[in-house]
Amino acid sequence: MALRLDFTMDAETNRQYLNGHPVVMHSHHYLALITKMAGELEDINGTGILRDVVEETMRAVFDDYIRKNGLTSAQDKCNVGREYFSVFGLGKMVITGDEQGGEVRLVRSHLDEGWIMKWGNTDKPVNHFTCGYVAAMFGAAFDKPLKSYTVTEAASIAAGDSEGKFIVKVS
């Protein structure tokens, strides 16, 4: 399946849309700093807020695409998230699993590689963004409500591993 991409622009405001959803460009500096800030705000559940926001907002994008394109198989639905990940410039992932959970390998990663470019390696996994993203992807693939899956980052490019690895389990 190749994701159908419809880039449009509002003639009055110049705001950009991808498949009807407003999108905006930023750089790895932005996402790295937002991630770092969330990590420094654990007393107010900073990383939890980041994960939840990513899961909710990405899920809406995936569900909309799945509905508009009449996708029915779990594999096709999961591929929507996988392909969007690359279109968004977030990297490249390989997914295995079923309704009970699975594993996502992150072969390339905007956030991890950007983090290293900015600050060098970190001593622990930092890709909370992708944890939320993967939860949205599995939820959309298997028609489950938000927060149905718990995602743990088991290996991290930012922390020195050759690939990222995310373990997905039913919550």
Partner: protein
């Protein structure tokens, strides 16, 4: 000739980006991402709402800082890029002032903010007005143009502070009006720190 804003906007607005075969967007000496506006606005709203009163200023500073560093580093890549050289530089006759005019035309073209300079005292002060910016759609309380505050500070640093990368944090930007609080436009004022 000085920078003709409409020409720059029309030329740059045609550009769209998406990930390459590795799912990455290496442009302007950085890795670019393309994210749903809803994600960015919702994160800002929730993290601000979660912060207790004594921490809100710190969180706000963090949101501005993310935009500032993004703007400072990416901005240097933008104003030295081939596309900026092709489209904007041929019209530059007034040095840094025109570079800044070109930068705000680029902000407009790329959908960050329909914005422009309304007052400029070189190396001293700049006033920006924005008639559309994505953070104006965010929920929450108070002025919330964190992104445009950071970007404005970054580009004034690039134009008038020490050459990149030594000019960081020379200027500061505060927001005085906001569409998100009912004003007809957002207003952003850059001054020396």
């Amino acid at each position: 000739m000085t920078v003709m804003r409409d020409t720059v906007v029309k030329s740059l607005a045609k550009i769209t980006v998406q990930g390459d075969e590795n799912g990455l967007i290496p442009e302007y000496e950085v890795l670019v991402n393309l994210l749903p506006v809803k994600l960015l606005n919702t994160f800002s709203e929730r993290i601000m709402a979660a912060a207790p009163p004594d921490k809100k200023a710190k969180v706000e500073e963090g949101l501005v800082r993310a935009a500032y560093e993004c703007g400072y580093h990416t901005g240097c890549g933008i104003i030295t890029s081939d596309i900026f050289n092709d489209v904007v530089l041929p019209m530059v006759t007034e040095g840094e002032k025109d570079i800044l005019r070109g930068a705000y035309a680029a902000f407009t073209a790329w959908g960050w903010a329909k914005s422009g300079i309304v007052q400029l005292k070189e190396g001293e002060k700049m006033v920006i007005r924005a008639f559309d910016y994505y953070e104006a759609d965010s929920g929450g309380e108070g002025l919330r143009g964190y992104m445009l505050r950071g970007l404005s500070q970054a580009f004034f640093d690039l134009a008038y502070a020490e050459p990149y990368p030594d000019g960081m944090d020379t200027y500061i930007c505060r927001q005085s009006k906001g569409i998100e609080v009912g004003d007809p436009y957002g207003e952003f004022i850059v001054t020396k720190k």
